[in-house]
Homo-oligomer: 156 residues x 3
Amino acid sequence: MKTKEMDAALQKLVDKDVIVDLVHRYSFYFDHRRFEEVTMIFTEDCVIDYGRGIAPLIQGRAELAALLSNADATGFLGTSHHNANVWITFDGPDRADVATSLYAWHHAPQGPNPRVWGYYYDKVVRAGDGWLIAYRQLRIGGQENFDIEWIPLIER
Amino acid sequence: MKTKEMDAALQKLVDKDVIVDLVHRYSFYFDHRRFEEVTMIFTEDCVIDYGRGIAPLIQGRAELAALLSNADATGFLGTSHHNANVWITFDGPDRADVATSLYAWHHAPQGPNPRVWGYYYDKVVRAGDGWLIAYRQLRIGGQENFDIEWIPLIER
Amino acid sequence: MKTKEMDAALQKLVDKDVIVDLVHRYSFYFDHRRFEEVTMIFTEDCVIDYGRGIAPLIQGRAELAALLSNADATGFLGTSHHNANVWITFDGPDRADVATSLYAWHHAPQGPNPRVWGYYYDKVVRAGDGWLIAYRQLRIGGQENFDIEWIPLIER
């Protein structure tokens, strides 16, 4: 490769590496109940759509923080957000679409433990030295013991 | 590193990145029932061995397309193909072996949902600007509610 | 990027690639019951803490080998160690902390199959041309049919 090509190829790999870490850090912080750090992965004016069964459309980091502040009191005893198949597609140098397969297990206070299988659809943006999630939508392809209103993975 | 070494190291990372995306795209397209795009991830003369419980040995992209054309009518309501541990070993500049841990969940039309845990063993080849899967074998280490004829993960 | 910056960025990606493979190879070899190769992923003087329900603190590769030599005779019929969210943080050029989300399924000889969800906390070190795991701790956030003494994911 020529130096210019190398530079472009390397920059792309560096960006992908940071974006993959972004996806991983969300799950890490969430499963460790470090909710303040979860919010810092998103842009100030982020939009998050977990589906109506979870919450109304979340607009902005402050609304996400408010939602998560209740998680310990009212939510699950524990969670495991397993990511797989992180697939990044760039839209210019400073924006990318990310699709990530999710298998999430939830420890219910009582009764069988809810599970979902789906995909996160993210839009990430370059922000200063790093990247942040500007938009996240969760689409669900299947569930066990978690039959609430989800955005379906596939429109039929 | 010297420029020549850097070039080789970078080329390897670029290739691994494309190969990992190949593995991820298979699952993405499969779980989204976009079966035509699934077939395009394989070489024209690919060989795919899912085990006799699923299908006879698949020889060529056309045979794969024929098998998948029935998936919506006769198959599961949904699937989740979770990849992990993608491990790539190069065999010269244009070929590589890939081992990928699979956890697959299937939404059954009725009754308990089948699950399998196993590994994909792939042989991938450079093809034009990208890479394609020339050979895929699925080996299964364990299952629940999916007791058909599999290729065992470990020969005993 | 300038050549010096490119060199540093590339070296970091090369190192991360090897470290991710280390995490993947552990699971690959373990799930394939290739226990001798599992031990070679660790430093000679490694320390491994799976929690008291699994084993006393393991000190050194020889102790790990001794523990694993009994695995086929007394253990599960099969395992699936699914890694996700591998998150690497460097501590100087030759050391790194790695957090990896684990979903592990175990095939019990009889009765329901045990499952755990947790995180590996690793310390990895550069060793010759590659990297090795010097310290591994398993912390568990939840389990089903595997209610033994674990190190909790979160201190409460």
